[in-house]
């Protein structure tokens, strides 16, 4: 019995389905119960949160968590499906501190909001950037420029006239 089925037995109400992602056990979780499931996952010994991925499937968002257990040397994949209009899911920062930046990055580039995150701001792009680049509907034709404000922080605008030499 792999970790996915174990999880399904422990929390049958929260787990939608189980499967395999190549060779890794995969669990599809209800988004409301993610925190509860994650706590259980950590209790099961999956102490390493490898990566948090957000994917835009046009009609929905998927957030995928890859776990690894140092003790049992096993993999586990959690997946939640979010609706496209208001993608929101609970934050795992309280369980894994490493989730902090990974979730911020997902918020920055994909635009998934993590409720309960202590500091959900943009991390790679400057604050004020319009749109989330990894969404499929991101408008690549709009050029955005960054300038430095009085306090040394970034200001984003579509007007590059005080940055560029040639207008």
């Amino acid at each position: 019995m792999n970790a996915a089925e174990e999880l399904k037995q422990a929390l049958p109400a929260s787990v939608v389905s189980t499967g395999m992602q190549v060779e890794k056990p995969l669990v599809l979780v209800k988004k409301e119960d993610l925190l509860e499931v994650a706590a259980k996952v950590k209790e099961m010994g999956f102490d390493h949160l490898s990566v948090v991925t957000g994917v835009d499937y046009v009609d929905r968002f998927e957030v995928i968590y890859n776990f690894f257990s140092y003790g049992k040397k096993e993999n586990l994949v959690l997946k939640v499906v979010l609706d496209h209009e208001a993608p929101e899911v609970g934050s795992l920062t309280s369980l894994w501190k490493g989730a902090d930046w990974l979730e911020r990055e997902t918020y920055d580039l994909v635009g998934v909001r993590f409720t309960g995150h202590p500091n959900l701001t943009r991390i790679l792009l400057p604050e004020g950037w319009k749109g989330h680049p990894l969404r499929k509907d991101y408008d690549m034709s709009v050029e955005q420029f960054v300038t430095i404000g009085e306090d040394g922080e970034d200001i984003v605008s579509t007007d590059g006239s005080n940055l560029l030499r040639r207008k």
């Binding site: 390493h48 949160l49 990566v51 995928i64 902090d100």
Partner: protein, 382 residues
């Protein structure tokens, strides 16, 4: 006495942030009260570009993530795609892959050693590190003609077979390197000032390191015996004799020593490969995919198809890169281009622990601790 907190802004252009990283420090005199990391000054949108390129076209972009060790990046990406499509790689290609990756591990650690010592104020170690690096780069030039951005890996194998005199050159390099590593140990490891600067600095316990998602040598410096090559063996690593280097001290010195030990282990692996490398093809010759322009199935050929369509699906594959766990999450929708590529970069995740690590230390300690995390900004910002 009334004191005022000093706000110091380090970077993005600063000699010891290894590129364009920025620290915002809240200081009490010389003591760091709070450290905020600001990144993204090298964010180049690689993940978005992946969606615009074909599977093969994306390989050069992986070179430019962690530009000091490009081979492991290549490897992690092609490994993810191969897992996705279920491609079998010929044995010789696996040997060549491991050879290049381990050679790159040595190069990476040489640059790490040099730049760490440079950050501490000793300018000579980096010269020695780069002197040996130059020799390794000559080997790479024989392989693929490039010095840093190799693009040597192909899905299903590697681009070319080894040149004729490669093995003799490699053996020379190994012999030379053995002596050099002894030199480094003699010059650096016992140095009193070096020990003063490194011991007990940037301490992070094993539990915390795991919780922060640290991987690679930085985690093994905290005493966690976690090496993907050992724990989740891939490629030909199960057949090779080497050990994961672990140090229990949890401080900067341990992280430094792990890397020096790893250089020796990598040399050991290179020696084994030089002895046992088999003869076979270097690219997969099975039939994969459909040529989209002609609609004809590929016939068996000596190179892998340029336009390649893996089945729809997703795969997360990770390898032990010199800096830690490097993973690629590839989603395919059954077209010629990846639907989504997510890069799990070791530098980014290891950097998470820095704000925790440096509270209560001084600026020179921040630089020492940051140096031992071994971060490359191309890898952090992607």
């Amino acid at each position: 006495m009334e004191t005022e907190e000093l706000l110091i802004n380090m970077g993005p252009v600063h000699p010891s942030t290894h590129g364009v990283l920025r620290f915002k420090l809240r200081m009490d005199g010389e003591i760091i009260k709070e450290c905020t990391v600001v990144m993204g000054y090298l964010h180049r949108g690689t993940e978005k570009l992946a969606e615009m390129k074909t599977y093969l076209q994306f390989i050069p972009y992986t070179d430019r993530l962690d530009y000091i060790s490009a081979m492991p990046n290549n490897y992690a990406y092609v490994k993810a795609v191969e897992e996705l499509a279920g491609i079998e790689v010929p044995l010789r290609a696996e040997y060549i892959r491991v050879l290049t990756v381990e050679l790159n591990r040595i190069v990476n650690h040489l640059v790490f050693m040099g730049s760490l010592l440079l950050d501490l104020g000793a300018s000579t170690a980096i010269m020695y590190g780069f002197r040996e690096r130059e020799k390794a780069l000559q080997l790479y030039e024989m392989l693929c003609g490039a010095r840093m951005t190799f693009s040597y890996f192909r899905i299903g194998g590697v681009r070319d077979d080894l040149p004729d005199d490669f093995m003799s050159k490699l053996n020379e390099f190994i012999k030379d390197m053995e002596k050099r590593i002894e030199d480094y140990k003699g010059l650096i490891n016992g140095n009193e000032i070096f020990m003063m600067r490194m011991k007990g600095i940037g301490v992070i316990s094993a539990e915390e390191a795991i919780n922060y998602g640290m991987t690679g040598p930085s985690l093994r410096g905290s005493g966690v015996n976690y090496d993907i090559r050992k724990i989740e063996p891939y490629s030909i690593y199960p057949d090779l004799d080497f050990k994961a280097c672990v140090r229990p001290e949890c401080d900067s010195y341990a992280r430094y020593m792990v890397r020096i030990d790893e250089m020796e282990e990598s040399l050991h692996i290179l020696r084994q490969i030089a002895d046992t490398i088999p003869k076979s093809e270097v690219v997969a010759t099975q039939k994969y995919g459909i040529a989209p322009l002609t609609g004809m199935p590929y016939t068996a050929q000596t190179y892998f198809p340029r336009i390649f369509i893996p089945p729809a699906g997703e795969a997360y594959s990770r390898i032990e890169a010199p800096k830690g766990e490097l993973g690629f999450y590839v989603v395919s929708d059954g077209t010629t281009k990846p639907y989504r590529v997510k890069i799990r970069s070791p530098s980014f995740c290891n950097l998470t622990a820095i704000p925790k690590m440096v509270v209560g230390l001084k600026i020179p300690d921040l630089i020492a601790a940051f140096g031992t995390i071994d971060v490359v900004l191309g890898d952090v910002d992607r």
